[in-house]
Amino acid sequence: MSEITPIEPGDAILPGNPPTVSRYRLGTRVNHWIGAVAMVLLVLSGLSMFHPSLFFLSAIFGGGQITRSLHPWFGVILVLSFIALFMQFWRLNFWNRSDIAWTAHFGDLMAGHEEKMPEVGKYNAGQKFIFWAMALLILAMFCSGIVIWDRYFEHLTSIPTQRLALLSHAVCATLIILVLILHVSAGVWVRGSFDAMIRGWVTAGWAWRHHRKWFRRLADEANRQTGPAE
């Protein structure tokens, strides 16, 4: 192979029977789930203010007043968590030529013919899309959210600016919820994905099926470190 498939620290094939592949380190997983919990709390508290028919969701947090005061703090937790996640993931999520080929074969994937798909590294084009969509939308929601966080930043901006911030906060909220639904559905549909983010490792067959280039590179690494077996 002309290009070396990149890997992340901690990625390795763990010998055993059957062999497994470590995919996400403990810190990565803990951070992911902190962000996930913050995201769910944001969605629930945010939706209660998004539409009157969902105002009842504010009861989960103990009423409208406390929902309104907690919502921005959930946002702060998510932003901090996502910054950490971004620092770990951004390099391997750069878009490249093979992602275009993968996207062109998206129909095969949905039809259950993953064997017809081009081989991919640690992240496929769909995962990269979710990563960048989340990054951009979280950034947009953070910026617009600060503008409408009246308790601390009321006098930082003019009212016309705050109106635009409210509109873009609502539009981005809709988009990020759609991306979130896509992310969770993909994780549920591709069996074994949740395991990667919960226990940290996947089976060798899973790595072969979904991220073959990444798996090949890890096999090469293992081979180079231990030397060829006798």
Partner: protein, 323 residues
């Protein structure tokens, strides 16, 4: 307690109150709008629309209205520093629902310096932007007599009303995190009384009654002003917000903005309309469909599982590397 004859047909504020006790006569059955509420039962009766008329030409800037407002609403505005203006406090606050705004204006036609004093406060729009923006059911209501009122126990303190208002009126308290503004003394109107400010005004620059009566009264005042050389005198009852239940007689009605930035043509911002309208409807629909599709896919689509040949392939690769 007697049925209140004044609430359904209010008279001028200068009228002395009756001495008998009255049943409060402005309640939930009089609501025509309720924030974040889809189905509101129609009001059981139509009250006569009321209005407060503020005649700028008769105002002497004494601030008796502000004092009366503080007194009646039992608020305690912060004592501030004098920075060289009579305006005090420096802006509307959660504790100051009405404010005399002072502007010095040189009339370009005759080079006269005119001291323009405008009593600022909630305009009680027929189409209230605050109520449109409010996400909390029942935190903002509108009665059939036109009064727009904040129901504080339902307020969540988000400040959306501030963004919805075309006049920059509501203020959220940093103490209890609830929004405050002029109530048009709904609690006084409910028992047949006019607003405290109108009651206190020594020159009757502020008068209160049915909106029809106030328009008639304004006509007389405008005719008087015109006879004195204020050719552009007129009534400020902006139609962009469906008319208001607080109106001004302006000596220069062609230029409302000279009166401390009174909007020339106030209307609910198109951004607010887009936010509370199409964004919420389309957004909620899209999220609903996506969530339903995701659940159906999760339940019924064939899962993408690792197959025996994948395990085989992986094993072969690893064995191959080892050889």
């Amino acid at each position: 307690m007697l049925e209140n004859p004044y609430a359904t047909n209010p008279n001028a504020a200068s009228k002395n109150p009756p001495t008998e006790g009255f049943v409060e006569n402005l309640g939930v059955h009089d609501l025509v709008r309720r924030s974040a509420t889809a189905s509101l039962p129609p009001p059981t009766r139509q009250l006569a629309p009321v209005a407060k008329l503020i005649d700028i030409s008769k105002c002497i800037g004494c601030k008796a209205c502000q004092s009366a407002c503080i007194e009646w609403n039992d608020t305690v505005p912060e004592i501030e520093k004098n920075v060289g203006t009579y305006m005090n406090p420096h802006d509307l606050t959660p504790e100051m629902f009405t404010l005399m705004r002072f502007a010095e204006w040189v009339n370009p036609e005759n080079d006269n310096l005119e001291w323009l004093i405008r009593k600022d406060g909630c305009m009680h729009c027929a189409d209230p932007g605050c109520l449109k923006a409010c996400p909390s059911p029942g935190a903002i209501v509108q009665y059939s007599n036109g009064i727009v009122d904040f129901i504080h126990e339902n307020c969540i303190g988000c400040g959306y009303c501030i963004k919805g208002c075309p006049f920059n009126i509501p203020r959220v308290s940093k103490k209890d995190h609830r929004a405050y503004k002029c109530t048009l003394c709904s609690d006084r109107v409910a028992v047949g009384q006019g607003p405290a400010c109108a009651k206190a005004c020594p020159t009757q620059a502020i008068v209160f009654g049915t909106k029809d009566d106030m328009k008639k009264h304004a006509e007389g005042r405008i005719a008087d002003l015109k006879s004195r050389g204020f050719e552009k005198a007129g009534l400020y009852d902006p139609q962009g917000v469906g008319g208001t239940h607080v109106m001004y007689v302006l000596p220069h009605a062609d230029k409302p903005s000279i009166y401390s930035d009174l909007p020339d043509d106030p209307k609910i911002s198109p951004v607010v309309i887009a936010w509370k309208g199409v964004t919420k409807t389309v957004g909620l629909t899209a999220m609903g469909f996506a969530a339903a599709a995701a659940v159906l896919h999760g339940l019924f689509a064939r899962a993408n599982r690792v197959k025996a040949e994948d395990d085989e392939g992986a094993k072969k690769l690893l064995d191959g590397e080892r050889k």
